[in-house]
């Protein structure tokens, strides 16, 4: 407390650089927002200028022309389904791999790493054949299952890395008190793992929300399209109505933004937890 805060040259330089950085990062977003108030003609004439008049036509066009609400519901359902499956499987597997350390663990890890190396494009044709056989082509579940399958390996590694940081004494103590293996997991490990699970869930949500390939190939009906797929309806091949497109993108960005604000504390907690622990 005794040290007097001194405004040094270094501080000034850091502040200026940070301000510049923030401007660079934030400007595209601000640009996107004010551009949505322009007409396409205005936009084509000058990309950077502010709107001359305040027009909400782009939002009206985006909302009425695109069935965005329906797409958003589909995206949410698929995101929720895939994330829940992935995080549940990955938490169980990550715990088992970290705590029990079975002798054949390297083989499992190798298998998971190999699975991560498979590009989704290669799997498209066999997946379509399998989904059709299971009657899941053109259903939400037909997107959820392959998406979860592809995200599980990475998520297992995230969870395993977290459980590795926990002291083994914690589990030994519980075992000594006579807790069953299941209750050690459920009553000791799970409560501590909550921040890590949230982090894994957030990462998964972002992946699933932005995924384009699986929804576009596995979904046929317009009523079941996800937001990224539906958004391509706004991007023309040779002609583009930028303000309407940007308004639609803003609509699509609202959900992840809300999610992030909602979960921000957990993410920060998870990051800090990892930092403080040895």
């Amino acid at each position: 407390m005794g040290a007097v805060r001194r405004w040094t040259v270094t501080n000034t330089v850091v502040l200026v650089l940070l301000t510049l950085h923030v401007l660079l990062v934030v400007f595209p977003f601000i640009w996107m927002i004010y551009s949505t108030f322009k007409t396409n003609k205005e936009f084509m004439r000058s990309v950077w200028s502010f709107p001359r008049s305040f027009s909400l036509d782009a939002y009206v066009g985006a909302w009425s022309g695109g069935a965005l609400g329906g797409y958003a519901v589909n995206s949410l359902l698929i995101m929720a389904g895939a994330t829940i499956i992935t995080v549940v499987v990955a938490t169980l597997a990550g715990y088992a791999l970290a705590v029990y350390r079975p002798r054949w663990m390297p083989a499992v890890e190798l298998g998971l790493t190999a699975a991560m190396a498979i590009p989704a494009y290669v799997a498209l044709v066999p997946l379509v054949v399998m989904l059709r056989g299971a009657g899941l082509l053109d259903t939400h579940m037909g997107v959820v299952l392959p998406t979860a399958a592809f995200n599980v390996p990475v998520t297992i590694f995230i969870m395993q890395a977290f459980f590795n940081t926990l002291p083994r004494e914690l589990f030994d103590a519980a075992r000594m008190d006579g807790a069953s293996e299941w209750s050690i997991f459920a009553r000791v490990a799970l409560p501590i793992a909550r921040p890590a699970m949230f982090t894994a869930a957030i990462v998964n949500m972002i992946w699933v929300w932005n995924d384009f390939l699986f929804p576009v190939v596995f979904i046929n009906s317009p009523a079941r399209k996800t937001l990224p797929v539906g958004l391509t309806d706004f991007v023309g091949e040779h002609i583009t109505n930028y303000p309407v497109m940007l308004a639609a993108i803003l609509f699509a960005a609202i959900a992840p933004l809300v999610l992030f604000i909602f979960f921000e504390r957990q993410i920060t907690a998870a990051l800090l937890g990892g930092a403080v622990k040895e």
Binding site: G81, L124, V125, V128, F212, L213, E237, I239
Partner: protein, 417 residues
């Protein structure tokens, strides 16, 4: 945790799988993602439903680039739609080679259906003498310019390649970019090379490779054409950083008068619809090249889209009925009116539907052309297209010598069996 409950409820909804409705005739198309495309397909399908209430369609639409992945996957997994939109050239030929396309010869021979198409267009959807798809629209490439800008500066439309270069030098002197070009996706610059090759050597060069003609060759003319392209770039006639610039951005330069001309397809008419006031779109043919061996009236014009029927389709009669309806003169004239694109059905590109510029191109330039040469990049097999794109980009940024690029391309074209 209220949220957790919500997520579980969401998962429960997801778990209830919705079965797909099975229509009697599945129809896939890429008329999505653009207002004029959507307007067209809505019109066509509404009219079809009125004319043929007995044929039920199960329609699937996707935006062009997503559509290609989707269709390729469906074809490869043995689950093709009955009737579908496909691109001509290498894309279609892959399906033809796999025995997945239904040959339309017998149907085309009936009721004058085949005769209703331009012969040169139908040739672009045929392989070894069999038609495997019907052509829909045709794009041709010309030079575009702003008439107002030209009048203001006293510039005149060039008729020879030398005049074009002289004009470019003058324009550059005014501080304006002579030619708008955004070559990030590599196709825009191919028009320059192909037109020069067509003027210097002649039309049908790449087609002869595709048709396994023993005498197929790019010739020394390809090197010469690439040298011309490299010279345009080194003289600074294209915008700065054009190899990393998108076609859209280049278009903005052109529409805003920062670039004077643009070598581009007839879709430029639609792209210029939102031009600033005072902009007046004009066109001129690719000028003649002195001592060129090619027919100097030839036009670079390719079929842009086609419709085909899967070999596996159960009800081929209904599928043909749908194709005949889609390519009827009435529907195709509506296509021209909505999309401002020329169609391959004879007499469907009317002046009223096409507008003055497009009708002028259709009735004068195209009608007078000795040959219509399809787009090299879509005509050749995909592997060769990649080499074509990268070599040409290399020539433009000076990293690949023209002679090397010509050889690479020729080798790639020969490598395909």
């Amino acid at each position: 945790m209220g949220l957790k409950r919500l997520l579980i409820a969401g998962a429960a909804v997801v778990l209830t799988a919705f079965p797909a409705a099975a229509g009697e005739l599945s129809f896939w198309h890429a008329y999505a993602g653009q207002q004029d495309k959507v307007d067209f397909i809505n019109f066509a399908l509404d009219e079809f439903a009125k004319a043929h209430p007995d044929i039920k369609l199960d329609v699937v639409a996707a935006e062009q680039s997503a559509y290609k992945t989707k269709l390729n996957t469906a074809m490869a997994s043995g689950n093709p739609p009955d009737v579908f939109y496909t691109l001509p050239g290498g894309f279609l030929n892959a399906f033809v080679n796999g025995g997945q396309m239904y040959a339309l010869d017998a149907d085309l021979a009936k009721d004058g259906w085949g005769d209703s198409f331009l012969e040169s267009a139908l040739a672009q959807t045929s392989k070894d003498g069999h038609a495997y798809a019907v052509p829909v629209d045709v794009d041709s490439v010309v030079f575009w310019y702003d008439k107002a800008l030209f009048a203001e500066n006293g510039w005149t439309v060039p008729s020879s390649y030398d005049e074009l270069l002289a004009l470019a030098e003058t324009i550059k002197g005014e501080g304006i970019v002579p030619f708008a070009l955004g070559n990030k996706d590599a196709w825009p610059a191919t028009f320059w090379f192909q037109y020069l090759e067509m003027r210097l050597k002649g039309s049908g060069v790449v087609s002869s490779f595709v048709n396994k003609d023993a005498k197929a060759a790019l010739g020394d003319e390809a090197t010469k054409a690439l040298e011309h392209v490299a010279a345009l770039s080194s003289k600074g006639y294209f915008p700065i950083g054009f190899n990393g610039m998108g076609d859209q951005e280049a278009n903005m330069l052109f529409l805003n008068g920062q670039a004077a001309m643009m070598l581009n397809g007839t879709w430029q008419i639609g792209a210029s619809a939102d031009a600033p006031e005072g902009f007046e779109l004009g066109y001129f043919a690719f000028p003649t090249v002195k001592d060129g061996a090619g027919d100097q009236s030839d036009v670079l014009a390719g079929v842009a889209a086609t419709f085909g029927i899967s070999q596996k389709a159960e009800n081929k009669a209904d599928a043909v009925t749908l194709l005949k309806f889609l390519t009827s003169r009435e529907v195709m004239t509506k296509y021209v009116e909505l999309r401002k694109t020329m169609v391959t059905v004879k007499d469907a590109t009317t002046e009223a539907a096409a507008g003055p510029v497009l009708f002028d191109i259709s009735s004068k330039l195209m009608a007078a052309a000795g040959h219509l040469d399809p787009f090299y990049d879509t005509a050749m097999p995909p592997a060769a297209t990649n080499i074509y794109y990268t070599s040409l980009q290399g020539v433009l940024d000076g990293s690949v010598p023209p002679a090397d690029a010509a050889k690479r391309l020729e080798d790639a074209l020969r490598a395909d069996k």
